[in-house]
Symmetry: none
Subunit: 136 residues, 4 copies
């Protein structure tokens, strides 16, 4: 299995930052490896301090359940099958958009998490970041 | 009181794994004893890492309140009587399906928790596991 | 990289239990994979309940630092280089004997943690468990 | 007050990585700003997973008390004035070497934390990192 390496994480974060700068949305970007362990993180100038933990949590969550956190959001609503999951795992589980698995073929080898702007803005950043690895 | 023993826990987990393999749903299975203390645990290959904590939490919860977590889910919804209970006990309380008490007659002597697939899949696994003890 | 699988974890735990029974030392045995995530756990009848968390913590620690926890103990004493490390990582770091990395050649692919008896007893159990994989 | 910016954090981390590579000591490097909030982080390939939290904690601690964590270590030993401080602040306080304040003149404007090798190795990395900002 190909592992995400430090340099890959840098590539992923730089692609995210470039997109975030393009749309004027200072944000936080975290990359975890296949074990869910933090590999790299960057907070852009003026990005929310409270989003550091959220970005890291989104990346962790996307790998912990091999799922986009956006999909998890639906399952975690009141009345849905996984309502309450956000409190599990020491409340590291983030259940809103912008945690995305990074795949090699069908295998999840890590994940990226983005937090700082609106959901829609962060989503563009997360996609740009995740795609940078696919291209790299 | 008959206590669940290590060998019982093994039987329970093996029955759950057999059912999970049958339906192609890799999952996590935890068994706690009457004191809510973990007795045995297994994560099947490719089961979600984020579900380890959830499976253990479901088993703990099912014994802590002597209830199927599925029933607790209804009581824990916004507006319902126990809304907020998921944050108690250090957030160990899991409020979605697949934590099941293990009984001897009417006495709860332990519990099993399953997490890894959809609610419906996990439920079949948890039932197969819980019944293994009844038969054993 | 070879990954530890559920069946390997079972083999490891069974070898540990056999040794623990041989010396009459009921104990707890945990196995984590290369990501530090719990793969399997067993508590023997009459083993200490307080040692569940310790066994899991030892296995996690042995992988987190790729070291026998026995070696870490020396470094973590008052006055030594890593004094205070036990409080890091949410206090999951165990700094006494019986967490052992499981290796394939030079690569750490998981770890085993044992807790329940005296250090010396647990050490024999952990060694028997770790060696079962090497043989397997 | 001059604030540490994302680009500064990158410079600091890159200088640390360069030194770590020079001495063959894969490590984790974290940079916090004047508020103690994480600004950037990198884990080098093969660096200890358990040291992610420690590197971040060292950086946080160095700013929280405006002190090198090496100096804090002495004060935190059994019998010394601050014995027990490692358990405060949710156990984020790291009391061994390699958390260093980053200063502009006499003003602490952030901090760097390094964890992964022996104390002596990490110290060279932390110094190289901290000095990169002074020069930058």
């Amino acid at each position: 299995m190909h592992a995400i390496q430090t340099l890959d994480a840098r590539t992923i974060i730089d692609a995210g930052i470039a997109e975030a700068e393009r749309i004027g949305n200072p944000t936080n970007i975290a990359v975890v490896d296949a074990s869910g362990c933090l590999l790299a993180f960057a907070r852009m100038d003026d990005a929310w301090r409270g989003s550091v933990d959220i970005a890291i949590g989104k990346a962790w969550t996307a790998r912990a359940f091999d799922v986009e956190t956006k999909a998890l959001a639906k399952l975690a609503q009141p009345g849905a099958d996984l309502y309450g999951i956000h409190a599990s795992n020491g409340a590291k589980v983030m259940i809103f958009a912008c945690g995305m698995p990074i795949k090699e073929g069908e295998t999840v080898i890590g994940a990226v998490g983005v937090s700082g702007g609106t959901g829609k803005q962060d989503e563009g950043v997360a996609e740009a970041a995740a795609q940078a690895f696919a291209r790299g």
